[in-house]
Symmetry: C2
Subunit: 461 residues, 2 copies
C-alpha cells in the first residue's frame, strides 16, 4: 500500500463540489520571434509523448478508513489530462481570468491521476499561457514551484522539453503515515506520533496563548473563533473569480527593510489594507481586526520537500490606521506573536493544533454553525518562493507565474503571492457570489502597495 499522509488524505476527505482542494499555477510566456499557433501545437504534441512520472501517474485505488491508498494508473490517457484551449479575440486578461475561473472551479476526476494541464492559445500581445492544476493531496506550493523550475530552463537557447507532469520523483520507501485524522478523532492525543511529548507541546501552545493574551495583555494573539464576521465568511459556492497582479520584489523588500520587517510583513499588510478598504467601501463595519490564515512550512532539515509539509498559523491583522506604516508595524507584531506561540513546539504538535482549528472550521460549515459562531478566520494569505532567475520554455520567455490556490470552508478569499525572477506575482481567488467584484480588490492591493512605497520613499519603477 502507498498510503497518503494525513494532511494529504485530509484534502481528499474534506473536498466537495463547493470546495475543491486542488491548487494551480498560471504560467504566462511570450512566443519566440516568428513563432505562432503551429509552433504551439508542435510543442504540445511533443509534450504528449512524455508519460507522467511519480506521483502524477498515481490514482486513488481505494479509501482505507480515512486515508487513501494509491496505485499506478495502468490505463493512463494523456489526451484526457493535457488540453488545448483558444481564447476568443481579442484574448485580453479579462477573458483569460474568466476561463481560468471556470477551469479552476471544476473538480478533478478521482478515477484518474489528479491533475490537468491546459495550453491556452490566443492571448493578446503574442503571449500564451500554461495552466497546471493538481490536487493539494499531491503537492503543496513549494513542491509545485520545484516542478515549474524543473520543467523550464535558464538558457533561452536550450530547446529541450520536459513537461511539468514528467519532472517528478520516484516513490519513497513505503512509510506509515505520520498523523491520522482517524487517530486524532478516535484515540485522542495519546495516540499521536509524538505521544506524551506532543501532548505536552499542545498544552504549551494553549498555555502560551492564554498567558500572552490574558496575562501579558498581548492583543496580537489570535484566539480560535475570534475573527470578526464578514460578508466573505460564508459558504463559498462552486463558482470562482480570479484576479492577478504583480510587484517588483526589490520594492517590497525595501519597504519592509525600511521598517525592520520582511517581504512577508509587507504582503500581509497590503492584503489587510486592501480587504479592510473593500469592506469600508461596501459599507461593512467590522468588529475588530481581520484574522488571516498564514500557511507556513514545517519542513525540517531532514525532509526532502515532498508532498505537503505546511501548517496554518492564525494571524490577527491590524486595527484601522491612517498611516500605512502603523498598519505595517501592527501586522509585524501580530506575525511575531503568532510564531512565538508555536515556537519550540514539535512540528507534530503544531500540525495537531492547526488541524484542530481547521476541523473546527469544517464542522462550522458542515453543521451550519456559521450563524451561531464567529468565523475561525477571515481569509488566507500565502507566500511561496519560486525561481530566483529568469526561465524559458523552448525559447519562450516566462513573463509571469501566478498562483491559483484553494479556499478553506467559510472563507471566500485566498491571496497567494509567488516570487519569480525578481517579481512577486499575486493570484487572488474568491467565491464568485461573495466577491463578484474581485478586480476592485486587486486595485486596492495596488493602491496599498503604492501607499506603502510612498510612505517609505521606495521607488516603484
Amino acid at each position: 500500500m502507498t498510503l497518503l499522509s494525513t494532511i494529504d488524505s485530509g484534502f481528499l476527505l474534506t473536498e466537495s463540489h463547493h470546495s475543491p482542494k486542488h491548487i494551480g499555477s498560471l504560467m504566462v510566456y511570450r512566443l519566440p520571434k516568428g513563432k505562432g499557433p503551429a509552433w504551439l501545437r508542435k510543442m504540445l504534441d511533443d509534450m504528449r509523448q512524455h508519460p507522467p512520472s511519480y506521483p502524477l501517474d498515481q490514482r486513488i485505488k481505494r479509501q482505507v478508513g480515512l486515508l487513501f491508498d494509491m496505485e499506478t494508473d495502468d490505463r493512463f490517457e494523456i489526451d484526457y489530462h493535457v488540453r488545448h484551449t483558444v481564447l476568443p479575440r481579442p484574448g485580453n486578461d479579462r477573458q483569460l481570468n474568466d476561463v481560468l475561473a471556470r477551469m479552476h472551479a471544476n473538480l478533478l476526476d478521482r478515477d484518474r491521476p489528479l491533475w490537468e494541464f491546459h495550453l491556452i492559445e490566443g492571448l493578446s500581445d503574442r503571449r500564451f499561457a500554461l495552466y497546471f492544476k493538481v490536487h493539494h493531496a499531491m503537492a503543496d506550493g513549494i513542491t509545485f514551484g520545484r516542478w515549474i523550475d524543473r520543467s523550464t530552463v535558464t538558457d533561452p537557447k536550450d530547446l529541450s522539453l520536459r513537461p511539468i507532469w514528467a519532472v517528478t520523483e520516484e516513490p519513497e520507501d513505503a512509510e506509515q503515515p505520520d498523523l491520522s485524522y482517524a487517530q486524532i478523532i478516535q484515540d485522542g492525543v495519546k495516540a499521536l506520533g509524538g505521544g506524551i511529548r506532543t501532548a505536552i507541546d499542545v498544552s504549551l501552545i494553549t498555555a502560551k496563548m492564554v498567558q500572552r493574551r490574558f496575562f501579558d495583555k498581548d492583543d496580537h494573539v489570535a484566539l480560535p473563533l475570534s475573527a470578526p464576521r464578514t460578508p466573505i465568511n460564508v459558504h463559498t459556492g462552486a463558482a470562482r473569480a480570479v484576479s492577478f497582479t504583480a510587484y517588483r520584489l526589490e520594492a517590497l523588500r525595501a519597504i519592509g527593510k525600511s521598517q525592520g520587517g520582511t517581504i512577508n510583513d509587507v504582503v500581509m499588510t497590503m492584503c489587510d489594507m486592501a480587504v479592510s478598504r473593500y469592506f469600508d467601501e461596501h459599507g461593512t463595519r467590522l468588529k475588530g481586526p481581520l484574522v488571516a490564515y498564514m500557511p507556513v512550512s514545517i519542513r525540517t532539515a531532514e525532509s526532502d520537500g515532498r508532498g505537503n509539509l505546511v501548517t496554518l498559523l492564525q494571524v490577527k491583522l491590524a486595527s484601522r490606521h491612517e498611516d500605512p506604516l502603523d498598519s505595517l508595524a501592527e501586522v509585524r507584531e501580530s506575525i511575531d506573536s503568532a510564531r512565538e506561540v508555536f515556537s519550540g513546539a514539535s512540528s507534530t504538535a503544531v500540525q495537531y493544533y492547526s488541524l484542530m482549528v481547521a476541523l473546527l472550521s469544517l464542522f462550522e460549515e458542515l453543521l451550519n454553525l456559521d450563524r451561531l459562531l464567529p468565523p475561525v478566520n477571515n481569509m488566507v494569505i500565502s507566500n511561496v518562493p519560486g525561481s530566483r532567475v529568469q526561465r524559458y520554455l523552448r525559447g519562450a520567455e516566462s513573463i509571469g507565474v501566478y498562483p491559483v490556490s484553494t479556499l478553506p470552508p467559510l472563507t471566500a478569499l485566498n491571496v497567494t503571492a509567488c516570487s519569480f525572477a525578481g517579481t512577486m506575482y499575486f493570484g487572488l481567488i474568491a467565491g464568485r457570489t461573495a466577491i463578484p467584484d474581485l478586480d476592485t480588490l486587486t486595485e486596492y492591493l495596488d493602491d496599498a502597495f503604492f501607499a506603502l512605497a510612498e510612505a517609505t520613499g521606495v521607488s516603484t519603477d
Copy 2:
C-alpha cells in the same frame, strides 16, 4: 414557495460529482456567406442583452425536506452563464467531442440558475456550434426541443434573435408537488396521490408482469434485476466520452414499416446490435439479452408539456441472431410487452413503479451492491421528437441537433436520438473509463443501420 415536483427534485437529490443530472444539446450551424468570427461575437453580444425568462431565471433557495424551493436570482450574472470557446485548429469533430465531453462532465453551480450556454467557434468547414446545458430538474427532452424551436426561425431571411434562455414560459400557479420521494419512502403506498387506486394499479403491474412472464411464458418481459452483468454496468466515474452520428429519418421509417414496426423499434434494434457486437469484439459473453431503460412520455392531454413528465420503461432487447430482421422482430415484441404491462395503469402508478426501480438502482450504487446483485438495466436508449422543418439562427442554417444526455447509476451508456428536419441525430454519452473507445460503438451503430437497410432493401442515400 415554488416547489419543484418530485421527479424534478429527484434529479437534484440523486446528483453527485460522478453523476451529474443535466442534459444538453449540441446545435451545429453553417456560417452565413461572408460571415466570420466578428459576426459570431456580435451575435453573442446581442444575445447577452436578453435576460433569462422563467424557469431559467430561478435558483435553488433551499431544500424543504426532500424537495427544492426555488426563487428568482436577483444577482443574475449573464457572463457567468453565457460563454465563448474557440477550438484549436483544425477544429475537427474529434476536438469538438473532447471539449463537449469535458463541458458536460462538469456540474452546474447550485447557487445560480441551473444552465450554461456555450458558443463554440473554430469548427472546420465554416461551422460553428451552440451547446446548451440545463439541469434535468428544469426540463426534459421534449421541453428542451420546444426551447430550441422557439430560439430559431424557419425563414433564413428572418434575422430576429431570441436566445434559448429567453424563450421560456411564465410560472404556473403554485401547485402541490404530485408525488414525493419522502412520501413514498416514509408512508408507503397509502400516502400516494392516487391512494387506493394507485395501490391497486401498482399491484396490477406486478401481477401482470408475473402472469406474463411465468404463466404466459412471455420471455420478453423484463423483470427488475434481470439484466445481465456487463463491463459498462459499473460506477461511471466523473469523466465522460461523447460521440455523434446521424441517419435519414425516412430510411429509418422505411426499415420499420417494411416489418410492420416503428422508427423507435428500429432505433432500439440498432442500439442492441451495436452494443452486443461491441461486447462480442471485446470478448464479453453475456448471460441473456440486454435490458434497456426506455424513457416514455406520460404527458396527458391536460398537461401543457412543462418540466418533466417522463418515466422509464424497462425493455428486454434481443437474443443473438444472424439475421438483423430477427433482432428487429424480437425487440418489437419486447417493447410491446413492456408497454402492455403498464397499459391501463394510472400515470401515478407507472411513475411509482418506475421510481421504485430507479431507486433500486441508486441504492445498488450507493451501497455497493453491484457486486452482489445483477444490474437493474444495462443502458438507456431514448428517442425525442424535434422540429420537422429546417430552422435558422440569424440566417445561419442548422446542420445538426445532437442530444447530450445523462447517465443513471451504474449505467455507463446513454444513446439518445433526436429527429430534426428529416434527420435522426444520435448523441452517445458514456463513462469514459468504462467505454474509452466510444467511437467504435458509433461505427457499429452505423453498420447496424446499413445491415438493416440492406436486409429490407431500403436506400440509405
